[in-house]
């Protein structure tokens, strides 16, 4: 339940708060000046120089203390981010120095010989996340569009609530369900027909043991649907009704109104929502670790086991056999961190732009 729309996507309604000077001078002195609201002449308050307010404010020890305390608490987060990044770099330094940039595209991972290349994990992380997006995006957009545009009013709250509940299920419970329900289901009902029809393509080749990229992708998809759906829904709700009305007024069918007027208007935000889902998928650990098979190998087939960066850290970090191995784990963490930070930052910027009400740029995308 981490996401009642606003909770997790965190889009403040009023974007600008006021500084102290404005707070007092702005609000108090301009209030009676609106001619429309004050038909009778209200004696204008004596103009108060801002400086006087400042001195008044400055003398209150409680205010200064309060502000200082809050500022100190607020500084914890930036500090956390900086130390996190610094410690990852410091921890990874031996590995960075030893392997350099080829770390990300070589695929030998041999803790005994002390040779490390993270390509299979990076590949597995990207492949599983893309597979998850492929499944989750239609589902999530379907949920968002249905809820904002088509569903009967009484159904809206229940469906939104149930989809949000998906986000409340702990990752490890998804993993448990994946091992004991999803994988047996795939083995008996999904993979045989898949292999019969598409087995000749490299995408579905090889023997299926259960733990596989496919299982990881499906679990990830279920996990990110609620995120994408919740943000997309907020974005679609932020589209002005006039867009819809204009399209309908020109004779568009309801679907045409949605597809040609509403969705393009919110496009930047919808892309942001999808990227946010991608960010979640990239960093998801437990459920993926439990079903993806954890094999250091690059295989095009979705039926084969794979590995992800997060899974590698979960499995090997506390069992690192040498300092270099540990440094390599740090470097994997660093790569994962940097990638998710970039992905999340992009998503936020896109969503902010729409949510702030300036959706002007959305056409450019």
């Amino acid at each position: 339940m981490r996401l009642r729309g606003g909770f997790f996507c965190a889009m403040p309604r009023c974007y600008r708060s006021v500084t102290d000077a404005e707070y007092v001078s702005d609000r108090m002195t301009t209030l009676p000046i609106h001619p429309a609201t004050t038909p009778h002449a209200v004696p204008a308050p004596a103009p108060t120089p801002q400086s006087e307010w400042r001195t008044l404010r400055g003398t209150n020890v409680g205010d200064r203390l309060y502000r200082a305390t809050l500022t100190a608490l607020a500084l914890v987060l930036p500090l956390l981010l900086v130390t996190l990044l610094a410690e990852l770099v410091v921890g990874a330094w031996p590995a960075i120095k030893r392997f350099g940039l080829p770390f990300v595209w070589t695929s030998v991972w041999d803790p005994v010989a002390g040779v490390f290349g993270a390509a299979p994990m990076i590949f597995g992380t990207l492949a599983s996340s893309l597979l998850a997006l492929l499944i989750a995006v239609p589902l999530a957009l379907g949920v968002a569009i249905y809820l904002t545009e088509f569903s009967p009013k009484w159904l809206r709250q229940p469906i939104a609530f149930l989809v949000e509940l998906l986000a409340a299920i702990p990752s490890v419970v998804y993993g448990l369900w994946g091992i004991f329900v999803l994988i047996p289901f795939l083995r008996s009902y999904v993979v045989p027909p898949l292999r019969a029809t598409l087995g000749w393509t490299p995408l579905f080749g090889g023997v299926f043991y259960g733990n596989s990229l496919l299982a990881g992708g499906i679990i990830l998809a279920i996990m990110i649907v609620p995120y994408i759906a919740a943000v997309s829904r907020e974005v679609l709700l932020a589209v002005p009704a006039s867009q819809r009305e204009a399209a309908l007024g020109m004779g568009a069918t309801r679907w045409e109104a949605v597809w040609t007027a509403v969705v393009p208007y919110g496009r930047a935000g919808l892309i942001g929502a999808v990227i946010l889902g991608l960010g979640r998928a990239l960093g998801e650990t437990m459920a993926v670790t439990m079903v993806i098979g954890n094999r250091h190998d690059i295989s095009l087939s979705v039926l084969q086991p794979a590995y992800t960066m997060a899974a590698a850290i979960a499995n090997e970090f506390s069992e690192a056999v040498s300092d270099l191995h540990l440094a390599a784990m740090f470097e994997v963490g660093l790569v994962l961190f940097v990638v998710t930070v970039i992905v999340n930052a992009c998503a936020r910027l896109l969503i902010w732009r729409v949510a702030r009400g300036t959706a002007v740029g959305s056409r450019a995308l």
């Binding site: 339940m1 981490r2 009642r4 606003g6 909770f7 965190a10 403040p12 708060s17 006021v18 500084t19 102290d20 209150n60 409680g62 205010d63 309060y66 500022t71 608490l73 607020a74 914890v76 987060l77 930036p78 956390l80 996190l84 239609p138 589902l139 957009l141 379907g142 949920v143 249905y146 088509f150 469906i159 989809v163 998906l166 409340a168 299920i169 702990p170 990752s171 490890v172 419970v173 993993g175 448990l176 279920i222 649907v225 069918t253 679907w255 045409e256 597809w259 960093g283 650990t285 437990m286 997060a310 850290i313 970090f317 963490g333 994962l336 961190f337 998710t340 930070v341 992905v343 936020r348």
Partner: protein
């Protein structure tokens, strides 16, 4: 109706049906997972499950009392560390957050919100496990707190912003200093919302496993010492699910059901709390 118009209306109907089907598919996934949890977990819930500690591998019986208590301690400690910082940050953002620092903090909170929890685990490992020379429940709590702060901060900010300006103005006009206005009037009005945000935050971290793997580690025995490794429900589920024994799998399902109920309870309470307060506003 001309052919073209008919085709357009048929398309519209079909697509409406399609998005409805997609929505119900998403709901179906939830129903399936919850159904399996109850079907496979409920039968193993009994008195022993809640009161006994795990028995050695291969034997039957035993419970997860140590994990339940461990989850309580670790999550409670995390809340103790994380809530004040999170709420303080949220108040800062709402009250003074219009400047550059506010922008930075807001952005950092959003970025950290999306940071993989396993990376936060590495953070706690470097700062607590390595210097202290061993895995500890405290390190686990710190990791969970770090996960929680950005979330709480953003919800608190939003809730405080919902408070009408007239309330502040009234308090200031009565001569309240700003800090008292903020705490006694504004924060108090937004209290239900803030509590909701906290409950949601706690619910979220209660189910986290990844940051505990190399901080709190897990423990086969009953332990209440925060400087020692401690077992938690999510970690117990992970161990039992990955193990080879039927008995373990049975206990894993039951633990998952308990964990899920705990998380849902927190979440539903939170939802109920916000309905009470902001039902009309939202």
């Amino acid at each position: 109706m001309s052919g073209r118009s008919l085709r357009r209306h048929v398309t519209s109907g079909l697509m409406t049906g399609l998005v409805a089907v997609l929505s119900f598919t998403a709901v179906l996934a939830l129903v399936l997972i919850l159904g399996d949890l109850i079907a496979k977990g409920a039968s193993s819930l009994n008195w022993d499950f809640f009161t006994k500690n795990p028995v050695p591998a291969g034997q039957s019986g035993g419970g997860v009392a140590n994990a339940i208590v461990g989850t309580g301690i670790i999550v409670g400690l995390a809340a103790l560390i994380g809530l004040p910082i999170g709420i303080g940050t949220g108040l800062y953002l709402a009250e003074y957050g219009s400047g550059r620092l506010g922008w930075i903090v807001r952005f950092v909170a959003d970025v950290l919100n999306g940071t993989p929890s396993i990376v936060i685990g590495i953070f706690a490992w470097t700062w607590l496990v390595r210097p202290m020379g061993g895995y500890s429940a405290l390190a686990g709590s710190v990791a969970l707190a770090a996960l929680m702060i950005p979330m709480i901060a953003r919800t608190t900010e939003e809730m405080v912003r919902l408070v009408p300006h007239s309330l502040r103005e009234a308090a200031l006009a009565l001569g309240y200093p700003r800090w008292r206005t903020s705490l006694r009037v504004v924060a108090r009005t937004a209290l239900a919302g803030i509590v909701t945000g906290c409950l949601v935050g706690v619910a979220r971290i209660a189910g986290e496993t990844a940051p505990l793997l190399f901080t709190a580690l897990g423990n086969l025995n009953f332990s209440t010492s925060v400087t020692q490794p401690m077992q938690t429900l999510p970690h117990q589920i992970y161990e039992y699910a990955s193990g080879p024994f039927e008995e373990w799998h049975r206990l894993a399902w039951a633990s998952a059901l308990v964990l899920m109920s705990l998380v849902l309870l927190l979440g539903v309470t939170a939802r109920w709390a916000i309905r009470q307060r902001h039902g009309a506003a939202r």
